[in-house]
């Protein structure tokens, strides 16, 4: 045996301490995942980090907690949380998460037995998994990659500490003489970089193995899959609700966060300025717009995994591709769509609130998690189809009506709400003046011409600005602004356009959503940020029976980067910043992991099959060519030159073999030199002779005799043992020969 290792061996107490501290670290890692579910957990997390962190720095603190407190802690938590469950009805998930968090804290603070360690690991795993499932965030990938090695280290240490006769004693006694300085030096002494490297390699192998299992795990048709629990949230951006006030959309534009991402399948022409339609508001309230009650009454709750959006007969120029949306939670219940999609599809069954009349789709409840859906066969049209609106709107006149206040119900029904204008003499007079100025007295202008004229009138008087001022005075706010020369934001432009058009007899409705977005230069997808929030108008063209999109906001509304893009010749901004790179990782996560399904599995399998086929074909061709060249070489007449060539080839092969052997021997020699021992010589004259003599001992039954046993054992040690353990060889062999001779 070689000299004893100088690496420190941690004793059971130290292993127990390390295990306990690692368990605390695991708690911190797990609790860190909660804010990804809901930011409201942040304070709880900070409190836990503070408490657990303090205890980790001063591990003897829990010894000051009375034993009674530990005994009642778990029942108390359970009672508290049962109360929480009752009070939080019908929500199950939030109190459950709170319960798990509390139990984790109790376990993290207490000195743990083996069973409690396993409980802690389970609780932490639960938190990480629930956070991952609810948030579907890329952070989960990092969290699980951090969690897994630490959890395994805890389990490893649990196994080691369990390998002793007195685990309970260790648990009690361990902390009385704990000193960080000594513990650090012991851990440092036990540290072995080579072993750490090996563990790192093992973990990499584990990750690859997991990826492999994930990829090959059979997937089935997911149409009937049940949605996982969703954590409901009441926070949504006010600009995308069914009732907005002027300024709500502009407020969203202050935020630079990505609202959603859109991935286009191959073959789709990328629109330069797509309009992402979310909410349609048909009723003017004086302070803003809202969806009328009659329009809302057309909402239908449907549960399915695919929803038909528009019939094929009325569509032209559809595109066969798919638009995949990765829609961040807490933005709005309303789902952004683009153009005229044929079908809206989810990966699993979903309950959706659809409104065929307004061509809207909304989740039945707002969640904090990312929502994934696809639009199929999208026609990039700048209009929406009128769904029987012409029957009501044909030859209809504007209605001067304004609800008493923002919350009072209207007496008008959709689509007549799209012709409602502010009532009152002042307002009617102002509208009359504006319409006269726009149309110059012309009646029954075609909708496109009227639109052009009104846009020209608005743009002549108003510039775009996020900061706008509405002049004081009598009458409707929008009309006061329209008649002024003040700059305005998209809501003022859209709102003014809508009521002026209505006054002129053209039904209009306000649409809020997003416009444009940046094109991620790394992974080729749209990134739509909150700053791209926008409001525009849909004007009903009674000739075509379509709601035609009109964006009254001048081009200056577009964000600075879009301006830059326009100046450089392309209207779509291609983002190649570091932020875009980091964002592209998120989309990769969504594409490759979160949305991985049987179809992608099949693609991977086909890709492997193709690669294998092409590789085998290439190999066959190469082997055939090689065989032919060898045959040709041997068939050709042998002259001196060819002999030299053959000799050269043979020499090169021989040199290669010798070199390879030399490398192997060199590494063996290096290893032996490092170990400080000579290598074991398996065949030597000593071993052979000892083997022969031992055989004779066995033949004569001498090995059974007690007095011969040591000699026989020595012979066997020489025959099979390590050289370092050999007894004096010559003496043993001579003695064995003498004994044999005497017997």
């Amino acid at each position: 045996m070689s000299a004893a290792s100088t690496r420190v061996r941690l004793n059971p107490e130290e292993l127990y301490q390390l295990k306990w501290l690692t368990g605390g670290l695991l708690t911190l890692l797990s609790i860190w995942t909660l804010p990804f579910i809901d930011s409201s957990y942040l304070l709880v997390v900070l409190a836990v980090v503070g408490i657990v962190g303090t205890v980790l720095v001063y591990p003897s603190l829990p010894t000051h907690i009375p034993a009674l407190a530990w005994k009642i802690a778990t029942p108390l938590v359970i009672v508290l949380m049962l109360t929480d469950f009752i009070l939080s009805r019908p929500d199950v998930l939030p109190p459950l998460i709170r319960l798990i968090a509390m139990l984790t804290i109790v376990r993290a603070l207490a000195y743990r037995t083996r069973r409690e360690d396993l409980q802690l690991v389970m609780l932490c795993l639960f938190m990480v998994v629930v956070s991952g499932v609810l948030s579907v965030s890329i952070a989960f990938a990092f969290q699980i990659l951090l969690f897994a090695p630490v959890a395994m280290l805890v389990l490893f240490l649990v196994t080691l500490t369990d390998c002793t006769d007195r685990p309970e004693q260790i648990q009690v006694e361990s902390w009385s003489h704990f000193r960080w300085s000594r513990f650090r030096s012991r851990i440092h002494g036990a540290f072995d970089m080579k072993l750490v490297g090996f563990v790192g390699m093992l973990f990499a192998a584990l990750t690859l193995m997991s990826a492999g299992i994930f990829a090959i795990m059979p997937r089935f048709r997911l149409d009937q899959a049940i949605p996982f629990f969703k954590l409901k949230t009441s926070q949504s951006l006010s600009g995308f609700s069914d009732s907005i006030q002027f300024g709500d959309v502009t407020d969203i534009m202050e935020d630079d966060a990505v609202a959603f991402r859109v991935d286009l399948s191959d073959g789709i022409d990328r629109p330069e300025t797509p309009y992402w339609r979310m909410v349609v508001l048909d009723e003017y309230t004086g302070a803003g717009y809202r969806m009328s009650r009659s329009a809302k009454s057309r909402n239908r709750l449907v549960t399915d995994n695919q929803f038909l959006q528009s019939s094929a007969s009325k569509r032209t120029g559809t595109n066969d591709g798919r638009w995949t949306f990765y829609y961040e939670g807490s933005i709005s219940r309303y789902l952004p769509t683009v153009g005229l999609p044929r079908r809206l599809r989810f990966q699993i069954r979903q309950t959706l609130e659809t409104n065929q009349l307004l061509a809207l789709n909304a989740l039945n409840e707002l969640t904090g998690a990312v929502t994934f859906y696809q639009l199929e066969n999208v026609e990039l049209a700048d209009f929406q189809l009128g769904k029987g609106d012409d029957l009501v709107l044909k030859d209809a006149s504007p209605v001067a009506y304004l609800p008493k206040n923002e919350t009072s119900p209207t007496i008008l029904k959709y689509p007549m709400t799209t012709l409602a204008v502010p009532s009152g003499i002042t307002n009617e007079a102002a509208l009359g003046r504006i319409v006269q100025a726009v149309t110059a007295g012309e009646q029954h202008l075609p909708a496109p011409i009227f639109t052009e004229k009104l846009l020209g009138w608005l743009h002549q008087r108003h510039a775009y600005s996020l900061k706008s001022t509405v002049p004081s005075g009598e009458g409707d706010r929008l009309l006061r602004w329209a008649e002024s020369n003040e700059p305005g934001h998209c809501e003022l432009f859209a709102g003014s356009f809508a009521i002026i058009a209505r006054a002129a007899g053209y039904p209009t409705r306000i649409v809020t959503g997003f416009v444009g977005g940046a094109w991620n230069g790394y992974e080729n997808y749209y990134m739509i940020r909150n700053r791209d929030a926008h409001a525009w108008v849909e004007l009903y063209d009674e000739v075509t029976h379509r709601w035609v999109r009109v964006d009254p906001t001048p081009g200056g509304r577009l964000s600075d980067q879009n301006n830059t893009a326009i100046q450089t010749g392309s209207r779509l901004f291609i983002d190649r910043t570091i932020g875009a790179y980091l964002d592209s990782l998120r989309v990769l996560w969504y594409r490759r992991i979160v949305n991985f399904d049987a179809e992608q599995q099949l693609e991977i399998a086909n890709s492997f099959k193709q690669q294998f086929n092409s590789f085998s074909e290439a190999m066959k061709a190469r082997l055939k060519a090689w065989k032919e060249s060898v045959q040709a070489f041997f068939k050709a007449p042998w002259d001196r030159q060819r002999w030299l060539e053959a000799g050269g080839v043979a020499g090169v092969i021989l040199a290669g073999l010798l070199l390879g052997r030399g490398v192997v021997l060199f590494f063996r020699w290096q290893r032996r030199r490092r170990q400080g021992t000579r290598g074991e010589i398996v065949w030597s004259w000593e071993r052979r002779k000892a083997g022969n003599l031992a055989g004779k001992f066995r033949q004569r039954g001498l090995n059974e005799q007690p007095e011969m046993a040591p000699l026989y054992r020595n012979l066997m040690t020489i025959r099979f043992g390590r050289e370092a353990e050999w007894p004096p060889v010559k003496t043993v062999l001579r003695e064995a020969r003498n004994r044999l001779r005497k017997k």
Binding site: M1, L206, I213, F220
Partner: protein, 389 residues
């Protein structure tokens, strides 16, 4: 019975110990790497004899958890859950791989003292050696069994064994009865690395050892007449005389002048000369166990104990000349080995049906034994009562 913590020591058995051959998990039985690889692949499919892998409680929890998460993953089509499931399954695979690596290159053997004594605590040693070149060995449990004493022990390897290192695990064991005791490593198991799977190897190593009779106290007052009649008889045993009777290993405290330098040079370790002590006050022990007198039972055990104790005491006081058991020849006791052989015989002594002839203990220095009242044993010297046990 208790164990003491494993200590890392070179695996070199002391000369007074018996060691078994090394045992290993049997992963590599061939010299050829290819054959070994094939063997391992076969073992992945066909479990080797004695090898067993079962889930622990936490392993069962993990399996149930995996089933639960798998079920949830398929029902909800959540790829996050599929990732967790993949991680759990691969950690199970990794656990099996690491467990295999932990056993690989680990070998163990029994190392026992040559003799046990009933009632005395003795150490049963397991030498654990790690012949791996890189990885340490951790967390093994050895199952030990003493058949005759019906004692068993689960002995943990508490500290790691580094590559090319060994350590010794000690079971402090107290044999209860004299006779042949069989100490066996019934098998070993490990839950390494994560405690999910318990891999056990039922590889048996046995070693038989003789358990000498229990030492008991006795009264012995030899009649003064005895020595007067034994003038001229001497005990030839280690002492300070001139006749060389044995060579033995050096022990701490031995005088340097007794080192046999030639033998030491030849054997490359210090050897001590043992020379015969010139002693004229010596006894011969004669033990006769006819079944007509001695029945197997407590009194017979007491006989064996008192004979053994007297033999040792007389030997130490250099007063033991020879021993005789039943019909056997009189064996001169000159050295410690002779005494040990006699104690070995005592370990297995049983009442005999008939004796060929009764020894004529003509010598007045022959010690004989007869049953006394109750469980007592009477000691006689030259036929004269000289003590009780």
């Amino acid at each position: 019975m208790k164990s003491i913590a494993a200590k890392v020591t070179p695996a070199k058995p002391a000369n007074q110990e018996m060691v078994t051959n090394w045992a290993d998990p049997g992963y590599f039985a061939h010299q050829s790497r290819v054959k070994n690889l094939l063997r391992i692949l076969k073992q992945l499919v066909v479990r080797p004899d004695g090898h067993k892998t079962l889930p622990t409680k936490s392993g069962i929890v993990l399996i149930l958890l995996s089933l639960g998460i798998g079920s949830a993953a398929y029902n909800t089509a959540s790829n996050i859950l599929f990732i967790v499931l993949a991680m759990l399954l691969s950690s199970l695979l990794l656990s099996g791989l690491l467990s295999w690596m932990n056993f690989k290159g680990t070998r163990w053997r029994l190392s026992l003292e040559r003799h046990f004594r009933a009632g005395d605590t003795t150490s049963v040693k397991i030498e654990v050696s790690n012949s791996k070149t890189f990885l340490p060995t951790y967390g093994l449990w050895f199952f030990l069994k003493a058949h005759k004493s019906e004692a068993a022990r689960r002995l943990p390897l508490e500290e790691r064994v580094d590559p090319a290192q060994s350590c010794t695990l000690i079971w402090l064991f107290e044999p209860l009865k004299r006779g042949r005791e069989v100490i066996e490593i019934v098998g070993l198991e490990s839950s390494f690395p994560f405690g999910f799977l318990r891999k056990s190897i039922g590889h048996s190593i046995k070693q038989e050892v003789k358990v000498w009779p229990r030492r008991i106290s006795y009264e012995f007052t030899p009649p003064a007449l005895a020595h007067a009649r034994s003038a001229g008889l001497s005990a030839s045993q280690a002492g300070s005389g001139s006749e060389l009777i044995n060579l033995r290993d050096y022990r701490s405290g031995d005088p340097l002048r007794q080192i046999h330098w030639k033998a030491s040079a030849r054997l490359q370790r210090f050897m001590i000369r043992e020379v015969a002590e010139e002693n004229h006050e010596s006894y011969a022990l004669a033990v006769e166990t006819p079944a007509s007198i001695w029945k197997a039972g407590e009194q017979f055990e007491r006989l064996c104990s008192v004979v053994g104790a007297m033999a040792e005491d007389l030997f130490l006081s250099e007063q033991l000349r020879a021993v005789t058991i039943n019909d056997g020849e009189s064996i001169p006791i000159r050295k410690q080995g002779d005494l040990h052989a006699f104690l070995d015989s005592l370990a297995e002594l049983q009442p005999v049906e008939r004796l060929g002839h009764t020894h004529q203990h003509a010598g007045s220095t022959t010690i004989t034994f007869s049953p006394g009242a109750g469980e007592h044993i009477l000691i006689h010297v030259g036929g004269i009562h000289a003590g009780t046990a």
